[in-house]
Symmetry: C2
Subunit: 496 residues, 2 copies
């Protein structure tokens, strides 16, 4: 690492701590077989890179070492990918998106539990997952008191640092020091002593700008110059654009019916093409004063700021494209007034989401005619990414919207099905389903009425007759939520 003495002084502000600066290889030696390790990172932002690569190298050289790996959510390939390839991950929580670890999970080589992202930190503190041996946290700097200034994400790091016996800090020189002041770190007390989380506006600051750590816990400091694995923006395809338009029409209708204020309520949106299309569509929203209370802040948020539409955005991670990062960093002192990053326990907290009245917009792998949603499991058996925060938001939202293209594989598979082959969100948690064909507003409807809405408004026209036929036959058998369990998963009804 080519860090200058100036870097060392500004990044490691406590002189006595500088003796703990070491190479990634030396730091990696702290990791032992069987350890439970909590890493920073939420999306490929703010995760440690140099130490994980050094761990993978040790294992590749023949050392026996397998860890339980905790993160905020998904992370970059240096962590999930390289460690998986080396065979160094035995257990993994609570979310992932990386190709190599996904394969290992589906092969049963890595034990993975898919958890609500708001709950992992508290359950860790409650002792439900055993002890945390080590935290590895990316930081832009370490304060005089030994506290950590996070970089582009907060995730679960505050609790990992609190619970871990030792901490390795990766000071990333590619992350600008101006990120300091952007974070708001708050860990709720645990029951029976928990107090109300005092956030009543999206912009409220209730914590500290650093993660409390202290000099004693810091076992190693490593300098790193590997940047976040930023990815170019996924392009907005025609289907996504039509879904976004349908969603915006719905929001417009809600405002006209006085069920939403004209500046809406705080918005939560997922990641990817559909989410980008929705946020792009909001550029045309007739009023300003919008707010974002979400997990991941992407380029579209900068667009909305620059257009004067958006007042404030709260998240747990910055995940810009390379171009977006440039925009952000070149004007960070301005953006910093309108953005903050919180621990995911707070960005996703039911208490805050319900209080603020967040409008949640999440994507589905498939939806069924009664409004159940599969968010995670391809063919009902193969993990895609995980439930992430979709349950935290959908269950507690003011209005819970799921977006889903009507088909997959170029029309060969219907995503509107008789019975979801895996259920992550139940009929009790889905207010509205949107596809490129239309909007099914399920509020106040019985299952039979919901089925008619979903098939008529959302299914691809090619699949409607099959689904209508299923409904008719099922209804003739009776029941509140009619089904033909022998046929509901039949390929005949979902593929052509």
């Amino acid at each position: 690492m080519g860090e200058s003495s100036c870097d060392v002084e500004s990044r490691v502000r406590n002189a006595s701590l500088r003796s703990r600066i070491m190479s990634p290889q030396e730091a990696a030696k702290i990791v032992k077989d069987g350890m439970c390790v909590g890493c920073s990172g939420f999306t490929p932002s703010g995760y440690p890179k140099a130490v994980p690569l050094a761990i993978a190298e040790r294992v590749r050289k023949g050392e026996r070492l397998q860890i339980t790996l905790w993160t905020g959510a998904s992370v970059g390939p240096e962590l999930d990918g390289e460690l998986t390839e080396a065979g160094a991950i035995r257990r993994r929580f609570p979310y992932q998106t990386e190709e190599r670890i996904r394969k290992a999970i589906n092969d049963g080589r890595v034990s993975f539990q898919d958890l609500h992202l708001s709950m992992t930190a508290q359950n860790m503190r409650y002792g439900f997952y055993g002890n945390m041996d080590l935290a590895i946290v990316e930081a832009v700097a370490i304060t005089e008191e030994g506290h950590l200034i996070p970089s582009t994400s907060v995730g679960n790091s505050p609790t990992f640092v609190k619970q871990a016996k030792e901490v390795i800090v990766e000071v990333n020189l590619t992350q600008p020091l101006e990120l300091e002041g952007l974070h708001d770190i708050y860990i709720p007390d645990d029951p029976p002593s928990r107090k109300p989380i005092p956030i009543v506006k999206v912009s409220d600051r209730v914590g500290t700008p650093y993660i409390e750590c202290g000099t004693d816990k810091i076992a190693a400091i490593v300098f790193c110059d590997i940047p976040d694995k930023q990815r170019p923006l996924s392009s907005i395809d025609e289907t996504s654009r039509r879904m976004a338009q349908n969603l915006l029409d719905l929001l417009d209708l809600e405002v006209k019916a006085a069920r939403l204020p004209k500046e809406l309520l705080p918005l939560q949106s997922g990641v990817g093409s559909v989410a980008n299309a929705v946020m792009a569509g909001l550029m045309e929203w007739p009023t300003d004063g919008l707010l974002v209370y979400t997990e991941v802040i992407q380029d579209s948020v900068l667009d909305l700021f620059d257009a004067g539409k958006l007042d404030f955005a709260s998240g747990t991670s910055f995940t810009p494209s390379p171009q977006g990062a440039q925009r952000l960093y070149s004007n960070l002192t301005e953006y910093r007034k309108k953005v903050l990053l919180r621990p995911q326990e707070i960005s996703n907290h039911p208490e805050i989401i319900r209080r603020l009245g967040v409008i949640s917009m999440n994507t589905a792998i498939e939806v069924d005619i009664y409004g159940h949603v599969n968010s995670t499991m391809v063919s009902g058996t193969h993990m895609m990414n995980g439930i992430g925060g979709s349950g935290d938001f959908a269950r507690n939202a003011y209005l819970s919207i799921f977006l889903c293209p009507s088909t997959a594989k170029g029309g060969a598979v219907s995503r509107v099905v008789p019975f979801c082959c895996h259920v992550d969100h139940t009929e009790h948690d889905v207010d509205v389903v949107v596809t490129e064909y239309g909007v099914a507003d399920l509020r106040g409807l019985s299952p039979r009425e919901r089925a008619r809405q979903i098939v008529e408004k959302c299914a691809h026209p090619d699949y409607r007759p099959l689904l209508e036929d299923y409904m008719r036959k099922a209804e003739s058998e009776g029941g509140h939520e009619p089904h033909l369990l022998d046929e509901c998963f039949s390929k005949r009804l979902r593929e052509r």
Copy 2:
């Protein structure tokens, strides 16, 4: 009605309101075809009786009248049963347990939407279900200001009264005036103005002892002397007793592992034989200082008070047996210091449940090998009661426990199945499954590991080989959550 002038003075304290006292038949004329009517009641406690009977009478005499009926949860037969039999209910929300309406729902004659009990009041205020024309609320008294003192339940009444254009008050003379002071009525402001709900202890009072109404809204006052339809205690069978013992062993283990304090955390428990067994088991809990934060307060809570085990109980409904009611009413001024009833929006609020760290204990119709739970739908198609508050509690609990006998129909049907034929609670929301055979602790386990735990610890021994065989075959097909979708609902795997 034989109400005395003394009753009139103590029960209708504003003299000018007394001119609105009328017969149930006269009051029932206020109800018009197509109206949306919100009634008090949560379990067969505190629901209006005389006016619903008079409405049913009108319809039986040939009048065309169908309403949308909202309540807190289930209610007594005078309301759900008689109105259904008369054909006077078109739509029904958010929960029911009555035989006649259940049949009508499953036949498709009544449109029913099954909702989380914490969400119905707020969604009503948000305008998601249209306007509320009329509220019919049982009260023990009407104050000088025209506010209502509820009787044995609070449910959704505060919001129904707030939203309704007119209110009919049923003053029930069988409900003692000493119930006054027992209730704590708090309606959260709606977003974007909502504030933290300031409850930090189970016993905190944050509202008023009455439902705000005002004299102007009261269209009719009816005196009623029909008591709540109290039911004798369901007896505790051997299976329930064994399940309760397994649960208590688990709690004991959690205390020993320092994952719970010795006086535990606030307890939520459902209704019925299993819940009674659990509460009875707590009579043997080694320490006092227990707390209850739940929906329904039953005889077992009085037992725990009398034994000195319990410090405080918060609910939304009192549902004692006839004997329990006698005990309660004969010592109401004492019990009133240790009990309070809140709106179900507050008793079931995610914010409070997560803050207090409630231990949730709910029953299941069936559980699958991966930890999904069916709480509502017999054979996947026929509504039993509804999800009730189980989702509010399970999702937000400190520890989420589901109890389920291993079999139904005298062993002819396994309740531990390969794939739930309806999912109300997903694998993300279930920490522990308990049957009479044992405890499956699912925390931190992958789906394949969970399946082994559930089959080994919870399934009936007669069904274990079948389930193990399914798991083996499914695993050979691969995937994070292996399944054979062609076979998962097969009767072969769940019946003998």
